[in-house]
């Protein structure tokens, strides 16, 4: 009992200073670290100008599914910025936000998008141009574990979609292709960023597959290593959905600032920051300004190829689903 009271008292002690000023917690996916480091102060300034109030934004980063689970277990997120629609659906199912959360913000609550793309070593020694090159015997591929990382799930689906497209919709051939791809992966990290460090810091693999935004950021961060961005001929549109975790925000009285924070991502200033971090945006003016950074690519969507996330969950991601048969029994 004693420790419980002590723990509760400590909890209050920790909670109080945080409540004294406007403070929200943005729980996000793994590779958005640098993005929100730039977004947060920009929003704080906008908010201060508009309302005269100070706001601090706390950040937590990890694999999208891991984060969703933590929120279900009580991580007090006010807003989520994820890379996976399903992970917000999980929160809705847990009663933390409305089931029709996609109506709360424009463009299906997705302020920006990206796609799985490649990053190769200096001067592209293996001549990697497209998905077909990744299943060659002499190529080692790095991407995270599709069971825990939303990022890798897009990679899996994009490879699958490419193979379907190439083989006129033959599912067996597509699965063989993905299996061959998995066989070329020397290590599956749990999150997108860990895969990046594996490729960039530990010099493992010939090609890293991750969001185009991450490939752009890494190429810049490791300019001395001369990594080259490669955009495949076909890829999958990856939405980056956002939502206010209404249950938590209501309790903490942060609904208004949380909503404004997410709306800021849609503003020209927000979209410009996003584009600077190599995310593709919808704002026409920003799009025109930054067109040079974003090569043309044929983008297919989850709905077109797979019939939506519910179907993907049931057929591909469920225990014993297609992903399991390809992933484990290699």
């Amino acid at each position: 009992m004693k420790t419980r009271i002590l723990a509760a008292a400590l909890g209050l002690g920790l909670a109080l200073p945080a409540m004294a000023q406007d403070s929200i917690l943005n729980v996000s996916y793994d590779v958005s670290r640098e993005l929100f480091t730039e977004v947060n102060p920009a929003f704080a300034k906008v908010w201060k100008d508009a309302t005269g109030k100070d706001v601090t934004i706390e950040q937590s980063h990890a694999g999208s599914s891991k984060q969703a689970r933590a929120i279900l277990e009580g991580l007090p997120a006010d807003v989520v910025t994820f890379n996976q629609v399903t992970d917000i659906d999980v929160l809705a199912a847990g009663g933390l936000l409305d089931a029709d959360w996609r109506k709360a913000f424009p463009n299906e609550a997705s302020p920006y998008y990206s796609l799985p793309a490649f990053l190769v070593r200096k001067d592209n020694p293996k001549g990697i141009k497209d998905w077909d090159d990744l299943v060659r015997a002499d190529v080692k591929v790095v991407f995270p574990n599709p069971k825990t990382s939303g990022n890798a799930r897009y990679t899996y689906l994009a490879a699958y979609a490419y193979a379907l497209d190439k083989n006129a919709g033959d599912a067996t051939k597509a699965q063989e292709f993905v299996k061959a791809l998995f066989a070329n992966v020397p290590v599956f990290d749990t999150g997108g960023r860990a895969a990046t460090t594996t490729f960039a810091e530990k010099d493992i693999g010939d090609v890293l597959i991750t969001f185009e935004a991450e490939t752009g950021g890494i190429a810049k961060e490791y300019a001395d290593k001369g990594f080259v961005r490669v955009t495949p001929s076909l890829s999958l549109l990856a939405e980056f959905p956002v939502a206010v975790v209404t249950e938590n925000a209501r309790k903490k009285g942060t609904e208004e600032v949380s909503k404004a924070y997410l709306e800021f991502l849609y503003s020209p200033e927000g979209q410009r920051i996003l584009a600077r971090h190599f995310y593709r945006v919808n704002d026409p003016a920003v799009k025109a300004e930054t067109a040079a950074d974003f090569p043309d690519v044929k983008l297919v969507t989850v709905e077109e190829v797979f019939g939506g996330w519910d179907k993907i969950k049931a057929e591909h991601l469920a225990e014993g689903g297609i992903l399991d048969t390809l992933f484990v029994n290699q």
Partner: protein, 285 residues
């Protein structure tokens, strides 16, 4: 453990001393809240699935592979620790040389060093572009992301156990027996095998079993260096975490419970060994 009085008195059953109620109350409350309650939560979650499904999860190929990797890497790490520990204990007790005290103090570093730091450092050292990796990889020895990486991380974090259990016993052992044996013409190795080894054997085994138990449970150091290849370099506790991240709570609980049971069996065995070792020591005195 070392500061022993000549007569270890037998504790009498009568309660002359005060504080039984107080310490019993405190201990039970604390153990109940901090240790027992969380474990009960785990057992309940694991039991939720029923014995059949429990066995099914525990014996799924990926779980088995993870358990096998964890156990075999821990076994190899224990062998490494046994060899190194025996060498260190012997050298530290029997010989004098400059820097001996420093070396003695250094042995405990792996206990004091946070495991995450150990993992970060080892993975950087053994990576293909690290100090050790740059030497080893051209020879075709790959450590990072293989079972060797797991083994080395486990061995590093349990280095001190064997040294610290064997050392005091060796100190108590008078070298005159070895000298006598040498005078009688025995080869040094024979003297060691016949006289020293039987005396230190119980402590040696206790040290190895402690290393093994610690290696089975090691997480922080291993995850940095192991990689995540399912069926190949995925340790059991990491698999439990991955199951958790996949919202598979029952799966996570079952794997965690399996590890817990394994640890309990080891603990019981080690306590038994320790009791026997104590009895041996008692007889000698």
């Amino acid at each position: 453990m070392t500061a022993s009085t000549p007569t270890a008195s037998v504790i009498r059953p009568k309660r002359v001393l005060p504080g039984f109620g107080l310490t019993m109350g405190l201990t039970l409350t604390y153990v109940g809240i901090i240790i027992l309650l969380p474990i009960i939560a785990l057992v309940l979650k694991g039991a939720e699935v029923g014995p059949l499904r429990f066995l099914e999860i525990a014996s799924a190929p990926r779980t088995l592979a993870a358990l096998k990797l964890t156990i075999s890497a821990a076994a190899m790490a224990s062998v490494l620790c046994a060899v190194y520990g025996l060498l260190m204990a012997w050298v530290l007790v029997r010989y004098d040389f400059p820097g001996k005290r420093l070396l003695d103090a250094l042995i405990d570093i792996p206990f004091a060093l946070p495991t995450a730091v150990a993992g970060l450092t080892l993975s950087a050292l053994f990576a293909g572009n690290g100090w050790y990796g740059a030497v080893l990889e051209p020879q075709g020895i790959k450590v990072v992301y293989t079972i060797w990486g797991v083994t080395i991380a486990m061995a590093f974090t349990s280095i001190p156990f064997v040294v610290r259990t064997v050392q005091p016993v060796l100190e108590d052992l008078d070298p005159q027996y070895e000298q006598a044996a040498a005078t009688l013409g025995a080869f040094p190795f024979t003297a060691f095998r016949r006289i020293v080894f039987p005396a230190i054997f119980p402590a040696f085994v206790v040290g190895i079993s402690l290393s093994f138990a610690r290696s089975l449970g090691e997480f922080g150091a291993v995850v940095f260096i192991a990689g995540n290849l399912p069926m190949e370099t995925e340790i059991a506790s990491l698999l439990a975490v991955i199951r958790l991240e996949e919202y598979d709570y029952n799966g996570a609980a079952v794997i965690a419970l399996t590890l817990l049971i394994l640890a309990l069996v080891l603990l019981a065995a080690s306590n038994l060994l320790q009791a026997r070792a104590m009895r041996y020591k008692g007889k000698r005195q």
